[in-house]
């Protein structure tokens, strides 16, 4: 069932070369993802540098409780997907599939929580371009903050959604015995992608949710 050579694409000499190329390709892709998000972070750095006070004021209005729960959810999911790779390496496909489904469930939970957050912000009139009711001298800069907030979290949520779909596919493939101790590269790559989603959030959380809390 798990014959590694059966999975060997014709351009490669052996599975080892195939895995090496695939992980390298995935990591390069992750590096491009870093730069994708990097543009938004560069915009954030610019705004924070020039309008630090307004950014702090705006940051205080984000939902710290939900943000913290979301962070915990993602950190845990990252651990679960790492355990899933481990399980498949040890030949426990069933366990791995369950772990993957749990990860996907946590990802979905993250999206739902974020939906609540967005809904709340919409009610508060904190959505630039759609429903913005803030007034006052620092309102323009706060709008800049919330523009970045929605761009960054929106783009991140898009990644989470893709990740959830990929994880479900991987769970299905694991259940059907596509992976085993000798070959599980697609699963590994999906796990890497999911970790990246977590990685980005690790920076998003302090920059957007912890700003100006002491003021």
């Amino acid at each position: 069932m798990n014959s590694a050579t059966a999975r060997l694409a014709e351009q490669f000499d052996d599975v080892s070369q195939q895995r090496e190329a695939s992980t390298l390709g995935m990591w390069i892709f992750l590096a491009t993802e870093v730069l994708f998000f990097g543009v938004l972070f560069a915009g954030y750095a610019y705004g924070h540098l020039l309008h630090g006070a307004a950014f702090a004021e705006a940051g205080r209005e984000t939902d710290l409780v939900l943000g913290t729960i979301e962070t915990s959810v993602l950190l845990t999911s990252s651990c679960l997907v790492a355990l899933a790779v481990r399980a498949v390496q040890l030949g426990r496909q069933r366990g791995a599939a369950v772990l993957l489904l749990c990860t996907a469930a946590l990802g979905t939970a993250f999206l739902v929580l974020h939906g609540f957050e967005y809904a709340h912000e919409y009610k508060e009139g904190l959505v630039p371009g759609l429903h913005w009711t803030q007034v006052g001298p620092s309102a323009p800069y706060k709008q800049l903050f919330y523009f970045l907030y929605f761009s960054i979290t929106g783009f991140h949520s898009l990644h989470v959604s893709i990740g959830v779909v990929v994880l479900c596919v991987m769970a299905w493939r694991t259940m059907h015995g596509h992976f085993g101790p000798s070959w599980h590269t697609p699963l590994e790559l999906s796990a890497l992608y999911w970790h990246l989603v977590d990685l980005v959030w690790i920076f998003v959380f302090p920059l957007l949710y912890l700003l100006g809390r002491h003021g």
Partner: protein, 312 residues
Amino acid sequence: MTLPQASSEAARIDTLFYFMLALSTVVCVGVLIAIVWLGIKYRRGSPADRGGREQRDLGLEAAWTLIPLLLFIAIFVWSVKLWAELRTPPAQAQTIYVVARQWMWKVQHVNGQREINTLHVPLGRPIQLVMTSQDVIHSFYVPAFRVKQDVLPDRYTSLWFSPTRAGEYELFCAEYCGTEHSHMHGRVVVQTPAAYADWLQSHARQGMAAQGAALYRAMGCSGCHEDGASVRAPDLRGIAGRSVALADGSIQVADDGYLRDAILLPRKHIVAGYQPIMPSYQGRLDPEDVLALIAYLKQSGDAAADPEPRNP
């Protein structure tokens, strides 16, 4: 180049240009001769000696790495020195304000004179332009003076020149700004000081500072920023050019850009010891009005302790 050298810096910039042109020509001709000579001598089947074919020569490679490098650094130093002068206006420069919009140049002289797509300047006097845009990015370009500066919305940029030849010179917009970009041109008229004075006289109207003073009262600035006001706001007498201590601990020089931000974006810089209560005047003032207010603030500083503006 057939361009006239009509500013104090133009000739020196051209010297650098011609130096680099000569250098480039030497390199080009040298490489061309080398290619032709080698191409003929070592054409396939030629009897030339091809013995001792080393394909590495560290000395040669180091030489043609280091020599260009040193040469480039020398050019860089030369260019930066020149450029620093080109970008640092002399202290006695006369200020003229420029507002760009799609697709015209609006000029305001300190005495209130306004013109469109024409800029009158006196010969031999350093002129500093303080420029802003009402819409998109434009670029103020006078080839005969070898100066160019982008003009940005919601920000002041400046350039200076000192005309050395009387005459009329082309003024172009050099940054693509939309449909009529190529029609956004005008002329710079350089006149002898006497002719320039006549021109100013013949078109005299209320000075910019006086316009500013009227606005200062009409917009309610005086209600807070003058003695005896019920609201505590910084005293603006002589503010222009002073260093201001800000609430975040930094020091800012109250230059044109600072004053503009203080009027339009009051939350950007909060003066130490004051509350951020000033409303923004964004949208309530034209760029020309802001410039008039700044001119008034500058003049109120020149008039020492006298806060009352005097109408001419």
